[in-house]
Symmetry: C2
Subunit: 572 residues, 2 copies
């Protein structure tokens, strides 16, 4: 049987999966996941009604949010409670659209499955339209009708390829008009927006727009992002974070054991030295923090802390170098350092350099002789020239279409390795260091965005989708699906919806007030960071590496969540 | 319970794991693996005797091998067969040493566990010494006595850190003498060498040396390498290959799904483009081939094929570029390409450049103005200057202590991306390509060497160790533990030992005949490559990506092996 399962896909005669996946080509694990039934919160297994909370406000500048959302502002959050009678009409027919917006996150397919299954089981003859390629699909009215057969290959699978995502946003008046035309053309009762902070803000703007124009289309959001920075009191975690962190931690744990397996006893000339791992995660350092809690690296840089103390690159370098020297003095010549992708955003001098480069390069060309560097101020020039040439190239060449440096493409880990190497050479000359530093760079990013979702993310996403279906059926709009009590078994999870305006604040952009759902940054007063801070000095010196291993879908470890959630919820 | 399991290790009061692992700090998966009992081949569960095959020869130059191994040459291979009486004395006390040699591979700890458990269960009061830090531990007589308690935390765990490995080899007369002193001092009956081709060759030389000097110490080898290049008729696979390929394939599968989830419908300016993944694996391309069979990339370069056709870098570049252009013409703007780390070894012009660089840099310094480049011949200079500056830096700076370019540290994937980008620009100007190529580089290496071994590797290694213990108990020397029939369930595996001389050939080095166990390269006539070759054109154009997902330890997929083994054994 094992051989039969493995053989799937080695036969060349399968149709192209360009227009849908071919399950006969699935790996054994993919196939077994198709049959997995995510557990539903028990409140969803019987009759329920919607219980309404008090009127809500906003995260900040409530007056302005109210002005921007006259219809949406102040809505109460809702929670489903068990009931003896069904609150919603089972024979209602709904036409619902669903869209994936922004970067991928494991579990997105299960949100769609949750919406679909809800409609199938609790409404009659409903239609689910999947807009293709993100919000651009709404604007161009490009969609696919999602049927049971169409959906089946994507159940519990990673990726977003059922309908794909996209980065376009519905922002300008013309774009809102296009969305309106699509909503009217398809006679949509509802739209589920599966996205991050920007996408959910726009979902609420769309809800407001439709309501203001008396268009019946309701809009419900779902909290997606592997970065973990979309959360609030009622939105405990964004989906995908659990899976992504576990994939990264599996890899980090492996390379830690690798570091421990060489150079423990002998001063080997081939030792691998210090592993510096840059982790995806944009501005906030939640992923780095969670991975640190899972794997216990010798150093983990938390960007929010760097920002609070206004640390310079030199200070970050020195901190890392101090740890390396202490360890070397104890005969420990290897080590593991985690840095967040967003680190660069927190260091003012690098921001300054990038701003200068953006300015110069907007107006002139990088001549090969390097005369353009004369335009940099001396501080920027010194910093720039201290970087390895590959970093210099990245700073000059990795630009987005607006001409700005694509920060995500700067290999910060190499930048730090280079600076640490220089500092260690210096200390060696001063007799303060006797080791033979060799930095090894790693970047963990795309591997984590599309893995098969953990049991947790699979169940969480399924419940979110189900909740979104319920909220639309109940006539709600401008809410984000909320599933809570997540540190308990899935059967005990709470299900409801939170007013999107409750998450919002106002930012000034180009002279206008823009509503934003602020990214939840790592709270330096919060339990996850405090746990890390209480252990990091021990981890710096003692090798307390922890190897989470590969995500398991069956067995005693299959339903675990993550440290960030457990600590924030006070479960540990 | 899940919360309790997760909490392990977040308490800071555990002792340092520098001198042994702390199981209370284990992750839930690590903990559950501690309790895993690898299945033993059933022949090992009852009485057995050793059945001897015919006299053996050598893989090449048998006369010379016989001269180099007068005592070891020609030994028959042995296989255990069920018997009604025990062939070996159960009350025998043995003193056995075990050593890990060379790079890490998942499952090494289980080989040691197999030796230990065999001695515990079938001999009396035996002692197992673990030499620390590889063969240097034998030479310096640095060892740890392996007890049940000492061993316990390492059962079914990844890594080599129980005693660590090292790259020193016992080669010179002085080193043989040191090994002899250690063997006599510890009164060793046997030594198990867990290593790759070089280490097993040296194991046989040591066996010969001890026999020639009438020293009682017997030497048995075990076939380790994730590279998969240590195999023969009786050694179907080297341990660690299964696990490493599955870890890499998990990551490749994830990034493939990521590629499919963006850019399928819209020509996105943020598309990720072509993923080029360089895979660890030294000279042979077994890992790349296995990962291709597991994930179905659009292109996989097999070094042995490049060598056979004497392809230039330009030809490899053109092949990749042709595929990219064909796909772009069909609207497919993303793609996945696998290249083996050893590719560089197969391309003569790069070898020539490296030889020139080694020569020049042995004798002069790289002046900053680049005048040193004038010493390169024009072909080399053109090639060198065509590379991105980071590759140029690597070619100049990444040198081993002998001053030679460390080929493993050249980011070949970036070299290829750069060459493909240049070629595509050319074709764009010629109107032959309309896409927007963006190469994304990945390297998968260290993540795969120390992962938790799959059930297959865990059982294979345990059986290998058990077999090594039996062979020593039976008074054998100069054999490599052999476990076969691996595509059947573990209970049906065969167990025995193969004469190491049977795997050997002779190479001429520095005017002397040296015995070598030749690396098994990918056989272009073999079933795995033929399967790949029959499907690669389909995979180039149709997206038939396959996502193996994370290694599972329980459930229906937990005991699968790998395509290379299944195809070579004719099981599929």
């Amino acid at each position: 049987m094992v051989i039969a399962m493995m053989n799937g896909g080695l036969d060349g005669s399968k149709k192209s999966s360009r227009f849908g996946r071919d399950v006969s080509a699935y790996s054994p694990v993919q196939s077994s996941r198709l049959e997995h039934r995510p557990p539903l919160p028990s409140v969803l297994n019987g009759y329920f009604t919607l219980s309404h909370g008090p009127a809500t406000s906003a995260a900040g500048d409530a007056d302005e949010i109210q002005k921007l959302f006259p219809n949406m502002f102040g809505q109460p959050s809702v929670e489903l409670v068990a009931s003896t009678y069904p609150a919603l009409k089972i024979d209602q027919k709904l036409k619902v659209g669903v869209v994936l917006s922004g970067g991928q996150a494991p579990g997105g397919h299960n949100v769609i499955a949750g919406v679909f299954d809800y409609l199938q089981q609790h409404t009659k003859d409903s239609i689910l339209y999947g807009f293709r390629g993100g919000p651009a699909g709404i604007m161009k009215c490009k969609y696919t009708e999602i049927t049971g057969d169409f959906l089946y290959p994507y159940r519990n699978q990673g990726g977003f390829d059922i309908i794909c995502s996209g980065r376009d946003k519905i922002e300008t008046p013309e774009q809102f008009k296009q969305a309106e035309e699509t909503a009217l053309k398809l006679d949509l009762d509802g739209l589920v927006v599966i996205g991050g902070d920007d996408s959910n803000t726009n979902a609420c703007l769309l809800a407001e727009y439709f309501r203001a124009k008396s268009i019946k289309t309701h809009v419900i959001g779902c909290p997606k992002t592997i970065d973990g920075d979309l959360k609030s009191k009622h939105v405990p975690i964004s989906f995908g974070f659990d899976t992504a962190c576990k994939i990264y931690s599996e890899m980090i744990g492996n390379i830690m054991v690798d570091a421990q397996s060489t150079g423990k006893y002998y001063h080997s000339i081939y030792k691998k030295g210090i592993l510096v791992v840059r982790l995806m995660g944009r501005a906030a350092s939640h992923i780095t923090l969670e991975c640190a809690l899972q794997t216990h690296p010798n150093v983990a840089i938390i960007g929010e802390e760097v920002a609070l103390h206004k640390q310079t690159l030199r200070q970050v370098t020195n901190y890392i170098t101090d740890v390396i020297c202490k360890r070397a003095a104890r005969g420990q010549h290897s080590g593991v350092i985690l840095i967040p992708e967003g680190l660069i955003d927190f260091i003012p001098e690098i921001q300054h350099l990038i701003a200068e480069l953006n300015e110069i390069l907007a107006n002139s060309v990088c001549d090969e002789d390097g005369r353009w560097k004369q335009k940099l101020d001396i501080q920027c020039r010194t910093l720039f020239e201290s970087f390895p040439c590959s970093i210099q190239e990245e700073l000059l060449l990795e630009r987005d279409p607006h001409g700005n440096v694509q920060v995500a493409r700067i290999e910060t880990e190499k930048m730090l390795i280079s600076m640490v190497e220089t500092e260690l050479l210096q200390r060696k000359q001063e007799g303060l260091y006797a080791g033979n530093f060799k930095g090894q760079a790693h970047f963990l990013g795309y591997e984590g965005r599309c893995g098969l979702p953990t049991n947790f993310d699979a169940a969480y996403c399924y419940a979110l989708g189900y909740a979104a279906g319920i909220l639309l059926h109940a006539g709600k709009t401008g809410l984000i699906a909320s599933v809570g009590n997540l540190t308990a078994p899935a059967k005990e999870w709470t299900v409801g919806g939170t007013a999107l305006t409750e998450l919002m604040d106002v930012e000034r952009r180009k002279g206008k007030n823009k509503p934003v759902i602020k990214k939840a940054m790592v709270e330096l007063e919060g339990a996850p960071f405090n746990k890390f801070a209480s252990l990091r000095e021990l981890w710096a010196i003692e090798d307390q590496y922890r190897s989470p291993g590969p995500i398991q879908f069956t067995g005693p470890t299959a339903d675990e969540t993550n440290f960030t959630l457990l600590l924030e919820m006070g479960a540990i």
